[in-house]
Symmetry: D2
Subunit: 337 residues, 4 copies
Amino acid sequence: MPKVNVAVAGLGRIGKVHAEITFTRLENARLVAVMDVVSELANSVAEKYKVKAYTDYDALLKDPEVDAVFITTPTNLHKEMIVKAAEAGKHVFTEKPITVTSSEAIEAIKAAEKADVKLMVGYMRRFDDAYATAKKKIVEGSIGNPLVFINIARDPGAPPGWAQDPRLSGGIFLDMLSHDFDMARYLMGKEVKEVYVKGDALLYNEIKQKGDLDVVTINFEFEGGGYGLIHGSRKSVFGYDLRTEIMGTDGTIYVGSQTDPNLAVGSKDGLIYRGVQWFWSRFYDAYVLEDAAFINSILRDEKPPITGVDGLRVVEIAEACWRSVKEQRPISVRRTL
Amino acid sequence: MPKVNVAVAGLGRIGKVHAEITFTRLENARLVAVMDVVSELANSVAEKYKVKAYTDYDALLKDPEVDAVFITTPTNLHKEMIVKAAEAGKHVFTEKPITVTSSEAIEAIKAAEKADVKLMVGYMRRFDDAYATAKKKIVEGSIGNPLVFINIARDPGAPPGWAQDPRLSGGIFLDMLSHDFDMARYLMGKEVKEVYVKGDALLYNEIKQKGDLDVVTINFEFEGGGYGLIHGSRKSVFGYDLRTEIMGTDGTIYVGSQTDPNLAVGSKDGLIYRGVQWFWSRFYDAYVLEDAAFINSILRDEKPPITGVDGLRVVEIAEACWRSVKEQRPISVRRTL
Amino acid sequence: MPKVNVAVAGLGRIGKVHAEITFTRLENARLVAVMDVVSELANSVAEKYKVKAYTDYDALLKDPEVDAVFITTPTNLHKEMIVKAAEAGKHVFTEKPITVTSSEAIEAIKAAEKADVKLMVGYMRRFDDAYATAKKKIVEGSIGNPLVFINIARDPGAPPGWAQDPRLSGGIFLDMLSHDFDMARYLMGKEVKEVYVKGDALLYNEIKQKGDLDVVTINFEFEGGGYGLIHGSRKSVFGYDLRTEIMGTDGTIYVGSQTDPNLAVGSKDGLIYRGVQWFWSRFYDAYVLEDAAFINSILRDEKPPITGVDGLRVVEIAEACWRSVKEQRPISVRRTL
Amino acid sequence: MPKVNVAVAGLGRIGKVHAEITFTRLENARLVAVMDVVSELANSVAEKYKVKAYTDYDALLKDPEVDAVFITTPTNLHKEMIVKAAEAGKHVFTEKPITVTSSEAIEAIKAAEKADVKLMVGYMRRFDDAYATAKKKIVEGSIGNPLVFINIARDPGAPPGWAQDPRLSGGIFLDMLSHDFDMARYLMGKEVKEVYVKGDALLYNEIKQKGDLDVVTINFEFEGGGYGLIHGSRKSVFGYDLRTEIMGTDGTIYVGSQTDPNLAVGSKDGLIYRGVQWFWSRFYDAYVLEDAAFINSILRDEKPPITGVDGLRVVEIAEACWRSVKEQRPISVRRTL
């Protein structure tokens, strides 16, 4: 069986997941190297999987055994790392979002095109069984013509570490809600045309000080018709609260739930359910399928299911959102490529 | 339009409901009289509806304007009241259970037969939209051949007033679980053949002292095949908890829910749902349809949908349950008519 | 016990409900007359309750026995009927919305003020147990400071009869979504400051031809901070779909559900739940409490819980929504009184 | 860090899971060998993890590097494999149930005691977050004194391969419902005293021919008070249907759900939910915690959380169930050790 030799660059939580998946779950991938600027981290992961450890990205890219790189570092590093990998002839999987700005995204996309390497962006929700089935049902016509997309996304808390700095992460519209914009495009099969955003930092002082927002509501329109509402919040005291719905002329599809149905305690106060506890358990399979899709696109020499342009479109929407918040008026989404 | 003139005898909560329904909701019924031994009660209800008030049941039965009587008194009074009504040529609707003992039930049934009057027993759950639709789905074959009936029934608290005395009410198997046995027979379309009961008074001292039970589990078998489990409890701290399921060869139907889905409060402790709050709201429509069915059976001269024999069958099951608890062995249900 | 003598003017479905409730459920109200321009309708309802029948509204208002009038006619008739009732010295309960335009609402409010009669508007959801408990929880501080109001409202179908004509009904923002705007004001305890609306008639040709909308999304802002999203649709193929949520700094309250939890059929296709079936059953108790609140405000000479100004505020929001749709920009809500 | 060197014997699906977990997730375990009688299987797994491959169990046990063995073979092989491992001085984790008969279980337990090695039985549900939290809540007193245990367990289909032969698997009471009996003992904190079972093979001819059952209902009693109901079925057309509830004097805990809340398709037929899809995803974390608990019990030289005697108790209950079905009477559970 032909196999793709992969390396993972950036060994935070999500990098470790991609290392584990490519090692244990994919028959046609072979983990050959890991890289992190923290050498202890690189060494410990390398030892576990008996693979090479790097602390220098350029050195990793010179390794002829590596066919493809998973980039799992802070967003502001993505552009340069993608360009370098492409120039080194490596296929690239980058965690979402592709880059902080649309101009960076275009640079990354062009580098990959020029080098003729695959470039895939990790919007793993597309591979989640519930979202994937929703897409399938919509394509099959189960709800008729899709008219309205609604997404409510509340994280349990403020983002950790570097993701709190909007200059590194792109802020709430990119770091958090780009998943939801990707779903809007994917499930409706249409581009976002115009956004009108209300929002502020109402929950956390540190977010306000860094210039990011933590509560937003967005009303938007799709090209070719159809409307959308997105609400994002950086707080949900009982756990993740992520729900999506798509109303069509003949039905409505609902994805997600705020409650873990598996435990209820009935007491005098009522029945107490827990919030969703199983984020990683739930989405682990999505990461597996996502990584498999990337590997398959390389082996079959096909376009990856989530392209650099898909990544760019979401950055463009986020940029329009920022303008709408600042100028307090509806903003048309500008296509830059 | 031909109309049936009705009287309600016994003006507790359930009697008032039948008075209101026959007055306001049924086009082909006309409330003409009400009766209660408490004269203030009889007078106030009569005044509201501008109908006759009686405090004496025999006097009510002599009223030639009355075509049919709703008997909504304590269970131990049912037998004599049914017999008298039949002898007076009045059609009879009796609240459940029909009587405290099977021999009383037979007497009541025979009196109605002899007088050629309708006799209907008020198992209103059969008219609840969810249970009625479940029956329809089963008959249509949605779940294939029904094999297992499971019923979990928890009341919010101990029964009030006279219903706490098993000599007046028949105890937990008749006063509470006869609804569930009626559903077992109705949904499975089969008679109950044998029961094995475990139970005790584990929740309330007063129930123990009066010789009734408050927690029971029952394993039973249907004639012609199929099994059943029933659990009853006189306590559920957050509200009614009534759920029924019927598993067939090709599917399972679930009726009821322990949670009111209409309100959830998400706090640090989780999402708190209320128990079922809308007992009367939910079942009000069932009472309306039940009363309509009784009136229609009179006008069309048809067998009522829940006959005296249906009422008797449930009393026989309850008697077998009492024997099983006392003798601690499986008991065959004896058919007495 | 002092009682308020009431009349119901307009005997469509909702008028009949108010007649039934004031007759059967309210101890301190006495139904004395009903009125409809269709004489058969007036007579049949009057006969049932043994009260007076009118076909002429002016004649009804001259009846000295009548203390208060329930106005349950098409919206475009409300203003004149409220003014006339006030001038006749009758207290007024009007079904929602108060009027089609804000200037009409002001006229109605001023007439009631001048005559010193009570004027209450029928936003019965405030009396629904789930919504009322949500309000109570918010006031108690269960969710901290409320920040975001979200409401998804999908009717099962296009409105019937006169309500299809936006000139008579005020269109989707008044006829349907005024309930939701009333809830936004009520639950958040703040006025709506600005709205931005997207919408079209995407479902029904007849709605398009009459100049109304059937699918809308609204992003709005509250005075003093906080944001809102409302989505309305005139179609939901499986039943009512009404859900509201209020996110605060320390929790989120969810009201409503798209599913009737009481019946599920498990087959090879999955578990099939029904949509919400019990609209009338669910909200009947809310109508009872609403009517009781109106009667009590008269007997206690207090301000009704939903005033004419409450009714006006919602009309002002609806007018801003229409402007936003037409001018495709955010519109400030103008206070006219 | 001290580490336990482990081997996995039997590389079916569940064996592979234990190999993956001990390799990737446990810091203090080291996978050193795998064994299967099918050499291709042993070799491919060994190659993946770069560990030793065995096809002969006795040879594996002679490997001095191996500290502990995971036995993941058909049940009828467990007894001999446990005894041999103990005699070789290896700690033993055996998949559930411990053995087919109670006399075999006693032999296995005694061998482990004699050799002074750990023996743990894999009832992983105890480590599932929902079940574990339920246990915690019960111990904390959230529901007062637990009185009733109810468990409904429906598998999506007949068991595969060897598990269809009750001589190899112990039949429905051991192969399937031993999980539920383990939970009964665990959550109630009491032993099962007496069982009364109804059951037959009503779903599958092949199960009937092999002498196993596919539909059972069980009514049982706990020592020291309290009752239980268990229903098991080898068919649930829409997916796993596993629900447990424990009613106490002051509350009720519900574990499990028949519905995946994450996707609903609303069409004219209602809202269609899927059954539970994520068996492995859901329980994967439970397997991880279970394996960690075994490893920790070795390193800390403590009694494993699920002992050989725990395994034996469930076998004794299953034996009583078989007798009850055959003799059609309540059977006391006999303690054999």
